[in-house]
């Protein structure tokens, strides 16, 4: 993008922020920038619009020959219809996803934070070796180990159970790694004060370290919850029985089988992204921080 053709160096005045030079070409560039932003914004919002439109339409409206931007009448009854449909275990699937999301995220956070703290702060000769064991698992992508994990979980008899969905995912080497790096950089002064006051590691951790790490924990929690809620391959492998389907597996089953009304499927899609949209609205700041944190170090 040619922002300007005139010499950029001016002899007086404060430096002009890059990309904000003045002049007619700069105006053109500014218009181009805004046009690009607005068009991209529209494109990014279209799928959300489609969910809402299709969820509140009749099937006849959805398949009408001319595109209907809005349904001819909003079908709020579609929502009740989804939850009353005995063929579609959507309420059960939402419950399963909620349990997996909450327990999976809470457990993963607790285990990883404790391990990270122990490795970062409690001197022990095994600490280095354990850290290498954790780092080594980062090399092997989790998606590739679904076959052996399935073999293990099925031999434990955990197929089609919430245990099978939750427990194998609790021990995330990546989360433990992140917490260790975070606690290494955590200011030591606070903990030293706690030790002078006679607190042991356990109480120092819970009374001093955790309360002072809440933004970091919130960031990791938001990322983990989204990943758990949206997970598909592992729940698909484990959910052999429809009573243990998560929302993603239930949706997928109906998409690939197409045994359900289109509008009902879109209501289900809308319902399934609602919790995450709420997380986005309320935890946006932590979420962005978490992505920047976890992404860069991945």
């Amino acid at each position: 993008m040619a922002t300007t053709t005139q010499p950029a160096v001016r002899t007086t005045g404060t430096p002009v922020p890059i990309g904000h030079s003045r002049g007619p070409m700069a105006t053109v560039a500014k218009i181009a920038r805004w046009a690009a932003l607005l068009v991209t914004t529209l494109v990014f919002l279209v799928p959300f619009y489609l969910i809402v439109r299709n969820a509140l339409s009749t099937d006849a409206d959805i398949t009408a020959p001319g595109w209907k931007v809005f349904p001819s009448a909003l079908q709020w009854g579609n929502i009740a219809e989804l939850f009353n449909d005995s063929e579609v275990p959507m309420a059960r699937a939402l419950w399963n996803s909620a349990v997996v999301g909450v327990l999976g995220t809470g457990g993963q956070l607790l285990l990883a934070a404790m391990a990270g703290y122990g490795l970062a702060r409690i001197p022990h000769r095994a600490a280095d070796k354990i850290f290498y064991l954790i780092v080594a698992t980062l090399m092997i992508p989790a998606a590739v180990t679904f076959i052996p994990s399935f073999v293990l979980v099925s031999s434990l008899g955990w197929v089609s159970s919430l245990r099978g969905l939750i427990i194998p995912g609790l021990f995330s080497g990546f989360a433990a790694f992140l917490f260790r790096q975070y606690f290494i950089n955590f200011p030591k002064e606070l903990e030293e004060a706690a030790r002078v006051d006679g607190l042991g590691y356990w109480r120092t951790f819970w009374l001093i370290v955790v309360p002072n790490s809440l933004p970091f924990c919130a960031a990791i929690a938001a990322i983990t919850f989204i990943a758990n809620w949206n997970a598909f391959l592992w729940p698909l492998v484990i959910g052999q029985d429809s009573s243990s389907w998560t929302v993603q597996v239930a949706l997928s089953t109906f998409v690939t089988a197409q045994t359900i009304n289109i509008h009902e499927l879109f209501v289900a899609a809308g319902v399934s992204i609602l919790p995450l949209v709420l997380i986005f609205v309320f935890l946006q700041r932590y979420l962005v921080q978490g992505v920047a944190e976890t992404g860069i170090k991945g």
Partner: protein, 316 residues
């Protein structure tokens, strides 16, 4: 648990004397295992045991069983490496990566620069582009398959084409020309651009403003020159992270392929094929394990090679 708390408390108050120090090490050892132990046991059971078990299975004829007796040596590996379906899944992956990695890189960097360059409503635009991260691949595939690229008259893509007088295209089932790539690539772009955009925005915000001021004093033209000589080199660490994460994520493609095209031989990435081999009707866990290990080794080699070339992980 209270005993541990007490002993570590004692260690906290007596670190100065020699005797207390010895006792302290014993106390802190207990505390160490209290903190690290639960995680470590789980990691060994649910992380290492499956990998070792998989390695074991890959040397056996393990159809429908997880405790096989028939040792076959490297035959499962040889089978997988000569299996046309497995090889074509590797080709599918490569084609996919060739599309998705550069596109994601360029577009997410572009979005980051666009969003970072405006002064009003910056948070709004950032949120809009980031919001698709809330959608799962399953939900996005549902929208793509049933509403945008459904290949019939009322699909959004075909509706738009019809305004220009273009006939309906059966997006997901047309192999020649390979139209199915358009939904497969666009769904992933929509879902992941915002994520990588955030990484680039974080990278952009770490660039010291003095560099821009210095460039300005040296007469660099705002726009392309500044981007070429200041911004882009300063984003080196972020760029490498984005490329690496992106490539690994492409290798693990499963959700959108499974939901959009299913188990078809023209567009089946390795994970979909391995899923069908080991958990489909054949349930060949031996060959499935061999394939998974081959895939894991390839991903590790790619990661290492990329780190060597770009010096990923070194201080920048």
């Amino acid at each position: 648990m209270s005993a541990v708390t007490e002993s570590s408390t004692a260690d906290g108050t007596k670190t100065s004397t020699g005797k207390g120090r010895r006792r302290g090490i014993r106390g802190s050892s207990l505390a160490f295992w209290l903190f690290v132990g639960p995680f470590l046991v789980g990691l060994l059971v649910f992380g290492y045991v499956p990998i070792v078990w998989s390695l074991f299975l890959s040397f056996f004829d393990a159809r429908n069983t997880v405790t096989p007796t028939d040792f076959v040596g490297l035959r499962n590996y040889a089978d997988m490496l000569t299996d046309p379906n497995f090889l074509s899944s590797m080709v599918t992956f490569t084609v996919f990566a060739v599309f998705i990695v550069p596109l994601t890189f360029a577009l997410s960097l572009g979005l980051a620069l666009l969003v970072n360059g405006v002064r009003v409503a910056r948070a709004f635009f950032r949120s809009v582009f980031f919001l698709p991260t809330a959608c799962s691949y399953v939900v996005a595939s549902l929208i793509w398959k049933l509403s945008i690229f459904n290949g019939v008259r009322f699909g959004l893509a075909n509706t738009v084409l019809s305004w220009f007088g273009i006939e309906n295209i059966a997006w997901l089932s047309t192999v020649n020309p390979p139209w199915y790539w358009i939904p497969l690539v666009t769904v992933r772009l929509w879902l992941q651009l915002g994520f990588y955009m955030i990484l680039f925005i974080a990278g952009l915000q770490r660039i010291p403003t003095e560099l821009y001021e210095a460039a300005y004093v040296d007469g660099a033209k705002p726009g392309w020159q500044v981007f070429r000589f200041i911004t882009f080199p300063q984003l080196r660490a972020t760029s490498i992270a984005v490329l690496l994460l992106n490539l690994i994520a492409a290798y693990q493609a499963f959700d959108e392929f499974y939901n959009l095209v299913g188990n078809v031989n023209y567009a089946r990435p390795p994970l979909v094929y391995l899923y069908s081999v080991s958990l489909g009707s054949i349930q060949d866990l031996g060959r499935g394990s061999a394939g998974a290990l081959i895939l894991a080794v390839i991903i590790m080699i790619l990661t290492l090679v990329q780190s060597r070339i770009f010096g990923f992980g070194k201080a920048d």
